[in-house]
Subunit: 191 residues, 2 copies
């Protein structure tokens, strides 16, 4: 998506080897006009897939998911990061291992809002090692929902998550795929 790549080139900041700071427009301040274009692009790629629900994870996926849902005319469910590892049987639970932060956290979704009748599009702002996505897929497996695919705003294609998940058969559509980046050279896109 050219508009998005241009924005990343102009306003993204590379920090160290693997941090791409885009909080001026994506995940702290949010440029809603850009989100509308992102939503249209996701719709173009996943229209006619029968999506009846969008699943994302708090907090920074929520904005893109809500704007995009307007095009699909469907509700959004966001998975919550749980502080307490409570074994509440009204919830689906998944563990999300973060290599980056060296933590394991629990994400939860109420059983009331996902089930076998759902045809789900997963949306998130970033894909790197794929931990969050694996957590959401685990929850959808528990729910017996169909997974249409995953829509990602920025994929760090030099980290293994996207390639692995595609090999496993998941349809992953990333609007900008970063092939490599550095503080000096900036961002190089994969396509």
């Amino acid at each position: 998506m050219e508009l998005l790549k241009r924005r990343i080139r102009e306003d993204g900041q590379v920090k160290g080897a693997d941090v791409l700071k885009v909080d001026s427009f994506l995940n702290h301040q949010m440029d809603i006009a850009l989100f509308v274009e992102i939503g249209k692009e996701f719709y173009k790629r996943f229209a006619h897939c029968g999506v009846n629900k969008i699943l994302t994870i708090e907090a920074s996926g929520i904005g893109v998911a809500c704007i995009t849902a307007q095009f699909f005319h469907c509700p959004v469910v966001f998975a919550k990061k749980s502080k307490t590892s409570n074994l509440d049987d009204r919830l689906y639970h998944a563990k999300v291992v973060s290599f980056t932060h060296a933590t394991v956290s629990d994400v939860v979704v109420s059983r009331d809002y996902l089930g076998p009748q759902d045809n789900v599009l997963i949306l998130d702002d970033f894909l790197a090692n794929g931990e969050a996505l694996r957590g959401l897929l685990d929850i959808l497996r528990q729910a017996g929902s169909q997974v249409v695919g995953a829509g990602i705003v920025i994929e760090k294609a030099f980290q293994p998550g996207g390639a692995q998940l595609r090999r496993e058969g998941l349809r992953v559509e990333s609007l900008a795929r970063v092939a490599s980046m550095s503080e000096e050279g900036g961002v190089v896109f994969a396509d």
Copy 2:
């Protein structure tokens, strides 16, 4: 807002003395068609106030804020709940005291995204004791931004936050004001 009150009556669940569970449409599963109507209503109330930025707090305010921002044609900034009380001088910090959870947490916003040039509408899903709103007001005071007012989806008017903040001069527009509620009697609205 009649549509919202009807939805609360139909799908809200009162738990104990002061929990109103609306996670089937507001803060876990999100009914985006309803959010669009909520956004239009906020726009009606705050149009012509020169709003150039919307401020909310993660996670459950983000959806309503993003959908509403489309009508104001402005970006959204969301305050982040910080785990670490780090004294990063690139951030505005505020303490949010939660009576409900008996906790004090830190919320932060980057100094890059709020300043004296901003005319800010605060949006949030709930107003009860007003702690989150006070934290956001503190951040806006530090930033030197103008505060247009606060738009709230559901105000628990039997808790003191809204009345206190209005007495202090803040314009608070709540789309549904709950006067009282109980598991047996359901929800009674203030107007």
